[in-house]
């Protein structure tokens, strides 16, 4: 699994630092790519805009996607990912503050693989990240790579 990338889509620098810290504390050595809004997330995944020319055959093992993002929000990103054959099967974990029923329904409705609410208590957050990375980086068999 080494070398597989985790894509973190997060606009809040504090949350970014804490998520990265939680991953490190759990001895996750995968490369963590951070993008800070919905448009940049799509650019990275499709090799467009600022990420033009990136080798898009290198797909992330899992995407940690915040819901509230500048420009294009998390649900908008998810909608675009699921509509595109290249990213349709990518595991997406919604990692967000909200536990509004509406967000959960919309998230799963648009094809999120998992929905995790960030707890205030960092110990709990660390534990959530531990379980989440154990599942998505170790236990889960990712969809087979596209051959093109």
């Amino acid at each position: 699994m080494v070398g597989k990338v985790i894509l973190l889509v997060e606009d809040n620098p504090d949350d970014e630092a804490l998520t990265v810290r939680a991953l490190k504390k759990n001895n996750i050595i995968n490369e963590i790519v951070v993008v800070r809004d919905g448009v940049e997330a799509l650019d990275y995944l499709f090799g467009e805009g600022a990420h033009a020319g990136r080798d898009t055959s290198m797909v992330p093992q899992v995407i940690l996607l915040d819901l509230k993002l500048p420009k294009l929000d998390g649900l908008g990103v998810l909608r675009r990912l699921r509509a595109d054959a290249r990213t349709k099967l990518l595991p997406v974990v919604l990692l967000t503050s909200s536990n509004e029923e509406e967000d959960l329904l919309n998230g799963y409705g648009l094809g999120a693989n998992s929905y995790v609410r960030k707890p205030v208590d960092f110990d709990q957050f660390k534990e959530a990240i531990r379980q989440l990375s154990l599942y998505w980086l170790v236990l889960n068999e990712p969809p087979p790579a596209r051959r093109s």
Binding site: D15, A17, L18, R21, S97, V120, D121, F125
Partner: protein, 362 residues
Amino acid sequence: MEFFNALFSSGGFQPHGFCYQWNTGLVWLNVLSDLLIALAYFAIPVIMLRFIRKRRDLPFSWMFALFGVFIVACGTTHLMEVWNLWHAQYWLAGAIKAITAAASLLTAGLLVQVLQQALQLPSTQQWREANAEMTAANKELEAFSYSVSHDLRAPLRSIDGFSLALLEDYSEKLDDEGKKHLERVRAATQRMGALIDDLLNLSRVTRASMHLEKVDVSAVAAEVIESLQKTQPERRVEIRMEPGLQATVDPHLLRIVLENLLGNAWKFTSKRALACIEFGKTSGNGRAAFFVRDDGAGFDPAYADRLFGAFQRLHSVSEFPGTGIGLATVQRIIHRHGGRIWAESSAGQGATFYFTLTKLSS
């Protein structure tokens, strides 16, 4: 007696059919028409009666009763028309007309008086506008809670996370006093997080749409107790459950009620070596009510009216933890079901919480 004799005598008059020269067509035309009018006039009050029985919320429902009397009287005059074709009891017919006149006049007179009040009733259009306003206000409230849920919690995560980072990464540079301060920062932050979550739940139970169905309340209570026992399997608590109690409620909201009441019973008996928690139904004071009883810390009845207010606590946080929003949430749910909740206790003697749900059946 003479009056009645006069009323029922034909007094030497000819029956009305005579005026029609007993023309068969004309007689039957009148008979049929009068009978049909009478039939309709008798049917109308029956329909109105059904209507007001189904719609008990209707304003001025006594006006419908008056209409009923007036229409029945009118119908009777038409029956008399038929009778008079063959029987010349015109005094009787006149008397019935007089009664009808009185009922009609009374109705008309009262209608004039009611007119002003009736005009003040909101029209369907006005209701619609008020409803639209409420919906808009609700939408705004939803946007507000969403923002609270998302935006107010984010800084708390930072405070807690970076306090812990300080404790972990700079522990050698901090003396014990400094570490203690940071622990306090963390505890306060987490408490604020819990407060925000509880407040959100409180606003959610008010906004959530209700889906009433028949629920086995005892079964839900048993599930809640079971999950409480799992959190502290070492505790010795005797559970007394009345099985098979049913009610027509929103199952999700009912669970929140029982989680709070049984959770409180569990919490406030935590200092007893052997505690007892009871769930059942009583029919004291002529009204059936569910109850949750414990033999825990109880509360001073002097403060009973503060129990159900948001953020009201009758015990210190160090004694028993909590945010003081649970019972406010419970009360809102009970009120949304049209029920009532009250509690009895004396300090140190345990507490009993009673609640009713209007759509109660057992």
